[in-house]
């Protein structure tokens, strides 16, 4: 019984949150890694891209709610999500047209693109704050739990409850669907293959008749989709705040680099590695150990390795360890 209780507590406090957070990070890291693979720079504006897509989704959600349209037990935001993606795509393509394309024509060095993305980051950050404000926004509605802790206790008679939030369920399902679709696209379609070819060898892609502008356009559109989905899922699970999204950049970069920049599978693996380490190192294990240890050996403290405020530190230390021992990341990246 104690073992079961410990397992339930572990699932409730570590596994489920980490899987959900890991899925969100993985989707974010996929976007960063795609830009890195195709456009060959790390996009500092990615956090703000997520924020922008999410903001559009939130605004549409509010409008839908005011019209009395909803999805019943599911959050209305799911209905607004496609519009958010479209809005984000439009902004990405516009940005590429007026900002990035010039530097491609100039054959600018990747680090110049990085600096340009800093400018874009500032502008998008300002834009989002200008439109929706810097504060916290909650926009989830519908049923809050798939399984609530109380129901679970009543069902099983265990002391520990297991809560499974709707947002977590949606996150996991969406992530699986999106990742499957993305891999199908990259590995099975002509356009997807041409994107991989362009990433592999730009000159040869050109000589094979692949249009670089096309490839770049598809990349921005996919990245806009990934970023918006990741942002909306994160916002449903926690809440939306422009500055938080900007700060998500660090764990997302860490995930992409840990997995191997430019490698989509690596981005996903990296997302989960970072999420699991963050959650498990900042979790107070006392609750679980209480069930597993004999009474006289019960720990006094919280058995929390680091306070939750150090979660950024955790992602970075993991990153450092991986880079020290495997400079190309867990899965072979392009060049790190």
């Amino acid at each position: 019984m104690d073992l079961l209780n410990a397992l339930v507590a572990l699932t409730n406090y570590v596994m489920i949150p980490a899987v959900a957070y890991g899925s969100q990070l993985a989707l974010g890291a996929l976007g960063v890694t795609m830009i890195y693979a195709v456009l060959r720079f790390s996009n500092f504006a990615h956090g703000d891209t997520m924020a922008f897509g999410t903001m559009v989704t939130i605004l549409i959600t509010w409008w839908l709610q005011s019209m009395g349209i909803n999805l019943g037990p599911l959050p209305t935001a799911l209905l607004a999500l496609p519009f958010g993606i479209l809005g984000c795509m439009a902004l990405m393509l516009f940005t590429d047209r007026v900002v990035y394309r010039f530097y491609r024509e100039q054959k600018a060095k990747p680090v110049i693109f990085v600096m340009v993305s800093l400018g874009v980051m500032f502008m998008m950050n300002g834009l989002v704050r200008f439109i929706i404000g810097p504060g916290d926004q909650r926009f989830s509605d519908g049923e809050r739990f798939i399984v609530s802790a109380r129901d679970f206790k009543a069902m099983t008679g265990l002391r520990e409850g297991l809560a499974f939030k709707t947002s977590q369920g949606i996150t996991i399902i969406t992530a699986v669907v999106v990742v499957a679709a993305l891999f199908w696209f990259l590995n099975r379609t002509r356009t997807g293959k041409s994107m991989r070819a362009y990433s592999d060898n730009e000159d040869l892609a050109l000589l094979s008749g692949i249009n670089p502008e096309r490839v770049v356009m598809y990349t921005w559109m996919i990245v806009a989709g990934l970023a918006t989905i990741a942002g909306v899922l994160y916002g449903l699970d926690k809440s939306f705040k422009p500055f938080t999204y900007f700060q998500l950049l660090l764990p997302i970069f860490a995930a992409a680099i840990v997995g191997g920049l430019g490698n989509p599978i690596g981005a996903i693996a990296g997302g989960f590695v970072i999420a699991f380490s963050e959650v498990s190192i900042t979790y107070a294990w006392k609750k679980i150990l209480r069930y597993l240890m004999p009474e006289n050996l019960e720990p006094d403290g919280l058995v929390q390795l680091l306070s939750t405020d150090y979660k950024f530190a955790v992602s970075f230390v993991i990153l450092l360890i991986v880079l020290l021992f495997k400079p190309t990341g867990l899965f072979k990246g392009k060049s790190v």
Partner: protein, 440 residues
């Protein structure tokens, strides 16, 4: 018009902007010397930060996005050096904390030693894991009680180790040293041979430094902030009671309160100008020296420099440490100016990326450009808000004063700052990629 004249005119233009801010309240100008000197002082600090970043980016191509961390370390140095010691802190756990930190450092050193001296394989992994786990718990066992001891001392007032009570000016070089030490550690790990990963390393370290400063209350009271830090000159209140000062103020026809604030601000301006000029002179001299020529040779053709037997990684490490130390000094100066350390206010947009805007706008690779960019962009950073408000008032002229849209827009002018900075950066990168004062 020769280059020198042109560049001098740019400096003069920025000077005029600040003088206008002190003298006229037309448009965006505040018409108060208090405001003008405030902008000038932070502008000078920003210029020093930009100088440090320019050293790294302009002369070595190192992409540092952790400026915020080095600035914050400078601020921490002010607390550690100049604030008054907490009574009983050392006996209540201060020693324990130091012991724990040494223990932690020894664990890391031992881990590095094992990694270097044992052959690859399972035994090494096991030994490393065992050492790290044992080291971590031993560290926590010593550290935790010591910390609770220190933090228990009158938490409303102290609750931290306090400082050494030394003159605050000493904290400025100390801030540089602290930042240099951190930079050395980062550079040592992140500056590889064939390629580096400095950007992500600095980005992460900066966040970690801020996290530590927010959470380790024993160090600098965390988010409870340290206020009332000592100053290098007499405080306004003291001045207002000094008959000599009052006489001088009266003879100049100034109100005593205004005179005392101006006195403090002008003293800061002079001090900062001295530091800026000294650093600028050193940077210029350094770059004209054989060392500087070599740095540029490495930057422009690393392969050739390496073939000539130059240790590129070492040089990169040197300049990275130097540049970061300058940012540390600037951070210490800023905290002295504020008179308080508030870890919660460190934000990468303001303390890292804004400095990048200054460097790029001023002119990468030109020290004078960095200084100009620093002051100029800081002026804009302050003045974008009134400009934005003016613009929105103008655009929404036709709308009623209580219209929701107008109110929302006016409410949001504060965020135009970021937008404008991004716009300036993009415009400069596109149309004047060498910056206002290009590298020669």
């Amino acid at each position: 018009m020769s280059e020198t004249v042109k560049h001098s005119l740019m400096f003069a233009f920025v000077g005029v902007l600040i003088i206008l801010d002190g003298t006229t309240s037309f448009g965006i100008f505040a018409g108060s010397w208090n405001s003008a000197l405030g902008i000038l002082n932070m502008g000078l600090v920003s210029a020093i930060m930009a100088l440090g970043v320019n050293l790294q980016w302009g002369f070595a191509g190192l992409f540092n996005v952790g400026i915020m961390g080095f600035t914050a370390l400078g601020g921490l140095a002010v607390v550690l050096v100049s604030s008054s010691p907490t009574p009983g802190a050392w006996s209540q756990g201060g020693i324990g904390i130091i012991m724990a930190l040494i223990l932690g450092a020894l664990t890391v050193v031992a881990a590095v030693f094992i990694t270097k001296n044992m052959t690859k394989g399972k035994p090494r992994v096991l030994a490393l894991t065992a050492l790290l786990i044992a080291g971590f718990f031993a560290y926590r066992a010593v550290f935790d009680p010591a910390v609770s001891g220190v933090e228990a001392i009158n938490p409303a007032l102290y609750g931290s180790l306090g400082g050494l009570g030394l003159p605050v000016l000493l904290a400025w070089p100390a801030g540089g040293l602290l930042a240099a030490g951190a930079a050395w550690l980062i550079g040592k790990t992140a500056l590889g041979l064939r390629s580096d990963y400095l950007a992500i390393a600095t980005l992460g370290i900066a966040e970690i430094i801020i996290a530590i400063m927010k959470n380790e209350d024993w160090l600098s009271r965390g988010v409870k902030n340290v206020v009332g830090l000592p100053r290098p000159m007499r405080k306004e209140i003291v001045l207002q009671e000094d008959p000599g000062f009052l006489d001088t103020a009266a003879s100049l026809g100034l109100d005593p309160v205004v005179a005392s604030t101006l006195y403090v601000k002008i003293t800061y301006s002079l001090l900062f100008t001295v530091v800026l000029l000294a650093l600028l002179w050193m940077a210029q001299m350094g770059l004209k020296s054989p060392w500087g020529r070599m740095m540029r040779a490495i930057r422009d053709n690393e392969v050739a420099a390496e073939a000539m037997g130059k240790n590129v990684t070492r040089r990169h490490l040197q300049i990275f440490v130097l540049g970061s130390a300058i940012c540390g000094v600037a951070g210490a100066m800023m905290t002295t100016l504020d008179g308080q350390l508030t870890p919660g206010t460190y934000n990468p947009l303001r303390f890292t990326f804004l400095i990048w805007v200054m460097v790029v706008v001023g002119g990468s690779g030109n020290n004078f450009g960095a200084v100009l960019g620093g002051i100029f962009i800081w002026f804009f950073w302050i003045k974008v808000e009134p400009m934005g408000a003016g613009l929105i008032n103008f655009v929404t002229y036709g709308l009623a004063d209580d219209s929701a849209l107008k109110l929302h827009l006016l409410d949001s002018t504060a965020h135009m700052r970021l937008f404008t900075m991004g716009l300036i950066l993009l415009l400069v990168l596109r149309f004047s990629p060498r910056g206002l004062i290009p590298e020669k």
